[in-house]
Symmetry: C2
Subunit: 495 residues, 2 copies
């Protein structure tokens, strides 16, 4: 448990509300103070809006949610809080005055932190009582989802303050980044601001639109930055000798007008710092290992984005739609020639499919079998166009058996066989095989109901689909029935 | 199909090899030319290394892979290719000479593109024959995974060339971004370069290390940039009036020394362009809708990163480990008090769990049931510490029944019940309920084997685990047996 039972918030705009949602979710009470009483309703609605995303982010069991209260009396908040976070407008004198005032109403051990984007802690703590318990704690929007918080101490801040503040932010799921030197904009906003001002110049000069400039990030560098920063990414781009090679190759570009920002002289001292820094980051991992990590997360992120049809995910979805359409056309022509269980799917075990036993996790078996069912439906003519009429197959019952484990990157394929059917039902059987030796890995037996969502109940298949089912089932009837057909689970049976 | 059957590559470094891997994967043949014969082995190994990631990225069925051949004779490549991509070092005169040479050996309709990071197409095409079929096509490392390619025409380039090139890149899964004005560094590298030079200044000034500066991106803005660029992100930060409000609020910061790059004057004209641009990007979606999209992908990306324990995913994993450890301690104390089916898990249907029928997809049922099994094992004392000794439970057989559909964001819980056990086996039964009305949604019956990975076979449970199983089973024996116990699948039975 954290020693902070109650977080005091000063200012309840987007940032203040983000802090409130995050703290409440981790079981910390929040007393929010704002001089404008109307902000209470806004705050409560912003917290409610943040809640579903937070609930999906944290899948582990949480303590009971904290209690939210609101006051227009700042000093009442100051007296109630175990930790205070200030989020008022970016005006130095305003912040100085208010921080000074509340510092005279808090208990001595209470840390007071400011969310300031760029003001310096030494300037902010000047008129405070006990200024040693003040620091900057700069979060990023949405505060309830992004883990970064920059922690910056001023001249009068103690090390104990920075440590206690960091512990609290870690408790509410954040990543405290200790900024060792005071500098306007801290670290993150300096990097963001350089990019932002270059954008403004290009829009101002009529070179590109805001949309084009956003595309220039989200389809490329932005995907990489979700998992690795520029320094480690460039270390990887340098081949086996990493950052040193990269600086030798692209060093001359620093003199070219590739941005309006002039680079520092690339001295031997600077090169050494860049190389030593990235070597520390690599922490003994080879370029090849780091490349594999980068590739793994780039694949996984694009697949996540595909689900939301955003950025690179939209590109991936479009190309896959085309590939599926091509394959579906080809498969329709093949369906009459099938004898034996049809091979409907080939895939590979992905790193994110692996469980704590280092094998493919059980739900992924059903995911692959589900994809195999979908591939069968497409061959039967129950494709996206058919589903657009409101008709599709729903699984009502499933029986899985596991015979072998699968390891990461192993290739596998699935065959399928129709066992029985009537106008509204389809009884099918899939086998999953390891590709390299055709060994049987798992089986899935499914009962599928044909449903019409227009009438919200089961309905006969379309005549063209049923005709395909009949044709295929006639072929499959010649195959011997699967050993695992019609199994039930019990100790005696398995024993 | 693309009209490009054979892609010619000039230069086989990291970028050339990335192009090769991508084109081959989409069924395009590649003729790679490099004057250094040793590059052939390097190229083939780089293509082989890219293959697993590409195979995992594209889950749709692909045409047969293209054929890769290598030559040290550049003109042989030029004659064989339907499209040529140049990837030699960033030296203007060298590129001009080589591009001029190959342009005299290609058929007239063949497009010649350059991967240059920052040189301008008008300069590059000067000494070419038929310069109208030349353009810049600037990709990003790793070329086989990142979809972005900047397309820039020179003064002599025709619109048809840009169109045909874009079509080809789209065919191999990329997002062509048309850059409308020639400018050193095109668009993307100007933005990256501004950020990079600011990094170099800060390392040079001793403000921060490369590692700290990377953290300042990956735990915050980098997560956002994977799905939205700075302009749309700032539009969202401005509240209901979007970019206009944001510029009013943060405009003054443009005068502050938050980076060494000076901003342009924030004129009314510039403000209008920024506002109009971001309004086009929003495409009629409200701030609230865009926030929801942003939150959805931020949640999903962090969960993907958790699997690789990288960046924000490592933060999430650490906080969840702590929460699970707390819950496991609390649960251990509760296990003796359980009567009736125990509630072992509560969760919520996430947007990425939804299938094309707008309901929870079937593999997610098994994922939730698998999490319920894990929660049961923890209560039995078969937790991470127990697994570290090499012992754990493996599912060998599963029977699922579906009774109701679940919609996005619905809350659900799972109860569990031990049906039978012996020294090495556990027969359990889960029920999934909708939280709001306790309606039964689905059931899962599992046979679990207790396995010792040290001897690679089934083994008796540890005595402390078996004692917990006995205690719980004795309580559960008083419950009536589940209606769905021991079911098998078949038309007659279901009918």
């Amino acid at each position: 448990m954290s020693t902070v039972k109650t977080l005091g918030l000063l200012g309840t705009g987007v940032i203040g509300a983000g802090w409130a949602a995050r703290a409440l979710h981790f079981g910390v009470n929040v007393v929010a103070a704002d001089t404008i009483p109307e902000m209470e309703a806004w705050l409560r609605s912003a917290v409610a809006n943040a809640e579903p995303a937070l609930a999906r982010l944290i899948t582990a069991p949480l303590p009971p949610k904290g209690q939210l209260s609101f006051t227009t009396d700042i000093m009442q908040m100051a007296r109630a809080a175990d930790f205070i976070q200030e989020n008022i407008p970016e005006q130095l004198e305003l912040k100085q005055r208010v921080l000074g005032d509340i510092s005279r109403h808090t208990r001595p051990g209470v840390i007071i932190a400011s969310s300031t984007s760029g003001l310096m802690p030494s300037d902010l703590q000047r008129s405070m009582q006990l200024p040693e318990r003040f620091c900057v704690a700069h979060p990023f929007n949405p505060v309830y989802l992004l883990p970064l918080v920059e922690i910056v101490g001023g001249e009068l801040t103690t090390a104990a303050t920075l440590q206690t503040a960091s512990d609290f932010f870690r408790f509410i799921g954040m990543h405290p980044l200790r900024v060792r030197k005071e500098i306007p904009g801290h670290l993150t906003d300096r990097l963001q601001e350089a990019l932002w001002r270059e954008i403004l110049h290009m829009v101002n000069d009529g070179v590109a639109t805001t949309g084009e400039l956003d595309e220039s990030i989200v389809y490329g560098p932005g995907l990489r930055w979700a998992g690795m920063g520029t320094n480690l990414i460039y270390h990887l781009a340098g081949g086996e000798s990493g950052m040193r090679q990269m600086l030798a190759q692209f060093g001359p570009c620093l003199k070219w007008p590739w941005t309006r920002l002039e680079a520092p002289e690339l001295t031997d001292g600077l090169i050494d710092r860049m190389v030593e820094g990235t070597q520390l980051q690599a922490a003994g991992r080879s370029i090849r290992e780091l490349e594999r990590l980068r590739d793994d997360y780039l694949v996984a992120i694009q697949q996540v984005l595909r689900q939301y049809n955003v950025g690179a995910g939209a590109t991936l979805r479009a190309v896959e739609d085309r590939l599926f359409a091509d394959a579906s056309k080809a498969a329709q022509q093949l369906v009459h020639d099938q004898s034996g269980p049809m091979r409907v799917l080939t895939t590979q075990v992905r790193p994110e499919w692996i469980d704590y036993n280092s094998h493919m996790t059980e739900s992924r078996y059903l995911q692959v079998f589900g994809d195999a069912s979908d591939a069968l439906f497409v061959r039967l003519g129950a494709d996206a166009a058919y589903r657009a009429t409101g008709r599709s197959f729903f699984t009502v019952e499933t029986h899985l058996t596991h015979q072998l484990e699968l390891n990461v990157n192993e290739s596998l394929y699935v065959t399928t066989q129709i066992l029985e059917f009537d106008a509204k039902r389809l009884h099918i059987f899939h086998r999953m095989h390891r590709a390299h030796d055709a060994a049987l890995v798992a089986t899935a037996e499914h009962m599928q109901l044909h449903v019409d969502s227009n009438v919200k109940r089961t309905a006969p298949m379309g005549p063209e689909v049923q005709a395909q089912v009949e044709r295929l089932a006639a072929t499959h009837a010649k195959l011997s029935p699967p050993r695992e057909r019609g199994r039930s689970i019990g100790l005696k049976r398995v024993g």
